[in-house]
Symmetry: C2
Subunit: 400 residues, 2 copies
């Protein structure tokens, strides 16, 4: 009889968003006439920019001609043209990352989930709570001890480290999913100092960096000194350029990220991860990489920034309605997420049900992101502008 | 200090094909005029069929229009249209697999490497030797005990189970990489009986099934009764349709694959794997899935079979040259690989060097695939027809 990985049996049976999809499906089947507005899962709705589509089609055409056909990538870490484009993008906001420090992947979720493979199971993992469920689930799948740093109303949902607590692996996400909060440069400096003091690795999820508009909010952890000695950064084109269905992201591991093995050898984290990927990954589809590179072209940046502005206007609409209702929230600024306090002391799932049943609006219950999420609720600005307005009118009517 | 997964430090430093690439690069830099013919890595060279390219471009166009744009897939397991196409493909050679039992992935290597996550680390893993290095490496990364079943000259490189040895997880690959050998239906039946008797799971790699031409050689393990109770099958479009750079494959987990947890619960392997993928994977690029579905259309099958015939003719050229030289080999028939005995008792790497230096031909040393590979050597039929002929002429001259 094969021994199963029984850590899985201790997890929530389903990934959060699969549970929500089931609830919505059941409601929709029972109420076929309900006009449901989805502001739950953080999925984009605007199409891919034209120059990006054109680049993918050009890549597809190359695959159809013997002279330009591409088979396996030598490294599986991404074509140089794309790594150079990502490096150039970092440079555009003042951060130096070498192309050789970048690995292209099929989306940040894969790397974020798989990176745990290269670490031992006895590490203490520190995750801010609430958090993207992937951080917690993927560590629990390996049976790791997870401790939490509280993000809550008092600290504006931006948890800071406790100097009395030791951690080996630290997950940070800014702009934050689900709370929309951001770390300032000073706050990140505190985390980096803490990581260096603890000889810890920060796994930094910057998937929402393209939504940062305010000065002084870092777009990358490498904007802060010391980060190259302690941080892995993961980013994705999903939110930057609407790639949720295209699937492409990147992971940065600086050359300085070297730790000792138990017998005192220097081990490069980049090499360790490369060895893992060499056996378990074969690179990203060539036409997808062509499309991704086009995102970072001048025209690509221009077109994708227009889409981001569209979503930012939705965020403003949501925020204005909540202001009108006197409901507290974080995010909406520098972030596509609005994290609101459920009105009248309602629980997260209670509010989810009420919103679905009475306003036919789907959001995400904060409790799904951790204990500090209880009583809070996430709405996304990724929808259609008119539908977002309509949803907020319904919510105002429901609560007014 | 983060604890590293030190199992990695016990592995070969690099994945086999990365080592070969480095050797070839060094030779090429030292001998810039050498006209190198690559028959090492099992990569295809013919372009993607036109109807498949067209389907990808249509998918890309849909991504550029709001009404047809696709974001996250609900399940991440593949669109129904593709799962139905794969199911129909199975039906075309007489095997029933439900679309809901199929999960689409970004290539068989990913699933083949990641599947170990859902099993405990105390399983006994049985791998035929020689084998595709991913099977061994990914289990050793988790610190699992790996035992081997010998494939060798005596058994035609088709290892059979030893009834006195217990195993929990079994890796089989037919047509085999690297040896080109195939299991008959009778041989597979013996393996399935063994697996059921041991309550074991077979992980069956059928990546080369499209190369089977002889009757009586199963294209899927599910062609054999009992397989649905013990086998996971993984296949890929890489060799079927030249998708090494497009990245798409599929994994089949039958509903019957249910095992007990240590406290006696029934656990569905499909659900366990779905939970893993739900947290660590976000589905395959939509235009890639469109391309993959086109492979299974009538026109797609016709175009891709032409490419396979082309490679089969290369295999025949290689085989004829080896026959002429009196060199023993397996494969070439039902397989794009020819597995030859190094002439004059040479070691695998010795022959690799000689072939590279004297004939400027790159192959893969059998020793890279396990201990029974020592003294053997793999050539692939995936090259250009003229170059394949040229390579065999050079080898004949070198050894003649």
């Amino acid at each position: 009889m094969p021994q199963l990985n029984e850590n899985f049996l201790k997890l929530e049976k389903n990934y959060l968003f699969i549970n929500i999809a089931k609830k919505v499906k059941a409601f929709s089947e029972a109420n076929p006439d309900a006009d449901i507005i989805r502001m739950g899962i953080g999925d984009v709705t605007l199409p891919i920019a034209k120059c990006v589509v054109d680049a993918m089609k050009k890549g597809a055409d190359e695959m159809g001609v013997k002279e330009t056909f591409k088979g396996y990538e030598d490294s599986g870490a991404g074509y140089d043209f794309l790594k150079e484009a990502v490096s150039g993008y970092y440079k555009s906001f003042g951060v130096e990352v070498k192309p050789s420090e970048i690995r292209i992947n099929d989306g940040a979720k894969s790397d974020c989930g798989n990176i745990v493979d290269i670490f031992g199971n006895d590490n203490v993992v520190l995750i801010t709570d609430p958090a993207y469920p992937v951080y917690v689930d993927t560590n629990r799948m390996n049976g790791r001890k997870v401790i939490f740093a509280d993000s809550n109303e008092e600290n504006g949902f931006a948890a800071m480290p406790d100097e009395n607590v030791h951690a080996d692996l630290i997950y940070l996400c800014s702009p934050n999913n689900p709370t929309g909060s951001v770390y300032t440069a000073d706050q990140l400096r505190v985390w980096i100092d803490y990581a260096i003091k603890n000889d810890a690795v920060i796994i930094y999820d910057s998937a929402y960096e393209a939504f940062i508009t305010e000065d002084g909010i870092p777009r990358s952890i490498y904007a802060i000194e010391g980060a190259r000695k302690c941080a892995i950064e993961m980013c994705s084109l999903s939110k930057t350029a609407g790639f949720t269905g295209m699937r492409c992201g990147y992971t940065v591991i600086p050359d300085e990220l070297v730790f000792k093995s138990s017998d005192g050898q220097d081990v490069s984290i980049s090499q360790l991860w490369g060895r893992r990927q060499g056996s378990k990954f074969n690179g990203v589809s060539y036409p997808v990489q062509c499309a991704a590179a086009a995102v970072f072209s001048e025209e690509g940046i221009r077109q994708t920034r227009e889409n981001i502005k569209y979503y930012q206007q939705n965020a403003a609409v949501i925020a204005a309605a909540l202001d009108e209702l006197g409901i507290k929230y974080t995010g909406g600024k520098n972030s596509p997420y609005i994290w609101l306090k459920c009105p009248n002391g309602m629980g997260s799932w209670e509010f989810f049900d009420k919103l679905l049943e009475e306003a036919n609006v789907v959001g995400t219950p904060g409790a799904g992101f951790g204990k500090n999420g209880e009583g809070w609720f996430r709405l996304t600005a990724f929808g259609d502008a008119d539908r977002t307005k309509e949803a907020m009118e319904r919510i105002k009517k429901m609560l007014g």
